[in-house]
Symmetry: C2
Subunit: 558 residues, 2 copies
Amino acid sequence: MRIAIAQIDTVVGDIPGNTARVLERIAAARDADADLVLFPELALTGYPPEDLLARTHFVAENRAALDRVAAACTGIAAFVGFVDRHDGMLRNAAALCEGGSVTLVYHKRMLPNYGVFDEERYFEPGSDPVVCEVGGVAVAPTVCEDVWLPAVPAEAASAGARLIVNISASPFHAGKAPARERMLRDRARENGVWLAYCNLVGGQDELVFDGRSVVVSPAGEVVARAAAFAEELLVVDLPGLALPADPALPAVPATPPAVSAPAAPTAAAPSGEPGPAGLEEMYGALTLGLADYVRKNGFADVVVGLSGGIDSALVATIAADALGPEHVHGVTMPSRYSSAGSVEDSRELASALGIGFHELSIEPAFSAFLDTLAPVFAGHGPDVTEENLQARVRGTLLMALSNKFGWLVLATGNKSELSVGYSTLYGDMVGGFAPIKDVFKTVVYDLARWRNERPGGAVVPHAVIAKPPSAELRPDQLDEDSLPPYEVLDAILAAYVEDDLSREAIVARGHDRATVERVCELVDGAEYKRRQGPLGIRVTPKAFGKDRRMPVTNRYRG
Amino acid sequence: MRIAIAQIDTVVGDIPGNTARVLERIAAARDADADLVLFPELALTGYPPEDLLARTHFVAENRAALDRVAAACTGIAAFVGFVDRHDGMLRNAAALCEGGSVTLVYHKRMLPNYGVFDEERYFEPGSDPVVCEVGGVAVAPTVCEDVWLPAVPAEAASAGARLIVNISASPFHAGKAPARERMLRDRARENGVWLAYCNLVGGQDELVFDGRSVVVSPAGEVVARAAAFAEELLVVDLPGLALPADPALPAVPATPPAVSAPAAPTAAAPSGEPGPAGLEEMYGALTLGLADYVRKNGFADVVVGLSGGIDSALVATIAADALGPEHVHGVTMPSRYSSAGSVEDSRELASALGIGFHELSIEPAFSAFLDTLAPVFAGHGPDVTEENLQARVRGTLLMALSNKFGWLVLATGNKSELSVGYSTLYGDMVGGFAPIKDVFKTVVYDLARWRNERPGGAVVPHAVIAKPPSAELRPDQLDEDSLPPYEVLDAILAAYVEDDLSREAIVARGHDRATVERVCELVDGAEYKRRQGPLGIRVTPKAFGKDRRMPVTNRYRG
């Protein structure tokens, strides 16, 4: 059997566009003499469609699209993810299309309803395994979560399946890929079956789907692997499907995979590791997540306020890599408190990246605000109000550029400052998208250094990396005047925000109690700001967003 | 049997505070010679605790608090809502506390996971009905959703229950109360049992819980009812509990309820209707929702930008009623495009309400921005950019007042403009809370007129109600230049946003096709703005918030 895995980048809600892409890949797979082609979970609607599922006409249109897809399935079979209305309830489904029609529908049995997932809000689970014959092979379709625990694949194998197909929309976080691949290898080996895994690729709001579809042999060996963070049509021959597999035998020698990749001509060859890891992987997720958000929302260009600091430098760099430097506009907006280096470092960055560069002083508007407010503020000394004012003048200037030229504003805040609220709402938090909002400050530095070592050279000026972090909102201000050193802060934040540990447990890890109390208090107090911040790319197992649904009104301090 | 219903206002996360309130009501109920006292769903944690439930120490603290409550239950029994960790899974539970300890725990069986609810994210459902003896009476505890369908109460009655207790956290929307009470009367009559329903009261982020706890006789008659939108300890004698009830008999005559109301001295007497309806009910929800948000988040005062229009006038009025006029600060911020009436009408409103009043011109800052941007904007004519600039100068001024004086900024946007994005992000959308974000513009007028007819007189100036709506961001601008008349707009929005109808179906209701297309396009295009807007009070069955989870990246146009 020759199988094709169509790792495609869908757009939520774009049923006509997604359908066209599916039809195109069916034709390409047939041209490659594949017997069967796989598409990701909910390929026709995009994933996750969220409350679009509340619209009956939306579900009806996705069903009509499936019929168009099925009609094209002659000379090849396909498993296509779609939403099935069955007994009046919606199901997350995989349709087998062959001979010009839908011959079978499988309903996802395990519905994730944790983390970023809300599938029980929308779907009823399926109750039965399905094994069908495709090209003389007993095949069991499954959908995403179904393979994460042993039960569903084991039932499918018991029912005679020799090939388990999994169509998936498995979102990225750093370090997830090896665990996912290990799980897939376990499922294949446990059951002595071939496993063909088709994952979605692309960005959707805060999620990035990383692709890395694989084919695993009954011995648990990865025989073919699709690219990370790019579309691909992966074509693989599966030998020995009719023979009983024996997990104790050495790896079944696979025919070298025939790979054709419409979107990514050079595909990663299978190896011990599922493609990029560490900083390279994270950078890949950030560029794809940004590029897809911009493109799918109809923007061409972005604008970034360049402070001379590391955050805005990294965001501008990611944007230049994701969109091309001609689509990125940097703006430096100095004030009376800006260091001389801020403008010069920003200019040097813009020049190294080849992006646009503008300079707008915030002094006239800042002074006008101070004058206007002077009578009301009489008798009150300067405080954080005047610092926020500067940030809000900058935010207003960026939004004016956005309004006038149609540029999407990128917010440059990182996860450390977003956690503790070390940012100004309607100021530096302004933006349509916040690419690094899930990246801790320490990792921001790591990413900048990593990128500087790539081909193309050091784009982030040394001075930007070397200078101590500062908001430059009052004379000689440094982040470390207000916050613990970022190494300490990030460790506490990871424990509190990502691991949900108590203050006590964090202190027990060896952190200073007063520092822990203060950081946790800041995190709790900043919830209202985070709620009004832009979407950004999830790269950790727990981002601020659908992952972490904290009440704003919340007196818990444990 | 004498039963007490402790309709209390809890705070999410405030386990010590909620526990203290529970203990105080247990003492009061014992003083009133009650045999049994009921508390709302999850009374110890507040509802909904959301991802606080991911913290093991939070759950442990709530369990320890239950032990303190149980220890106080001598000479009286209590059903108390708490989170139970059972077999390693969390359960939404009701504990029976009596004789100084927890004698029984019931696990909620029906877990809502739709609309604003996410209970399957957190809880495992219970599987069995529970009937226990309290003061010689067979009592079945249930939790909220359990009584909304017939099955669980029917099982409880079959198992011998003579009294069904329901502890609840049922959020308000306009018009829900009669339906809920009808449902409760059905459940009592169907099963020939007494039904004692204890609902939560108070605001929590976007939700308002309206209270209106009731006791229903086996004949389906409401024999006692607690206040809407206020705390109360409702004490009621339930006669005839030992006798078999016969739903065919006329209403069991009830002893007139003995009512003591620590928070609301005069309780509504039972009648055909569950308290306030229509505009009065909505106004009650808005004042309670605002008062609780302000109080529970530690604010004392609020600031409102007064434009001279109806939205800000209504928000200021609600705020004055909710917090006292001395805690409300109005600010008029005229520009070159403001009508002479705007400042004068605002001043008149502030004077009628007795709130603070400030005037800050936006001209200096607006001019400074225009000058700063002039070189970059050279060759481009004025457009929406300059309109948004004015709104953002106002937003920045309000935030400066907030920063300097600790006042919470109230955003004044209504549901109509929020739907179509007829508002400026970081401009008039600025605020910590948006009281009328779920109120359509037509209803904003109705509420203002209704409030003007209340005791205390006409606070909203006639001119504010009479003038045609205008954003006053360019000369002679009127809302109706950009939008259909609000009667038409609101009808289309209700169909599209609240009822999830297709464009086709809305046209079929008799609306002009081009208008429908345009309005729906505006709604879809404003999703990113809404995501960055402040929380506000849900008063309809579908608010922008947890109710309507639309992707931002979304190409669906059906």
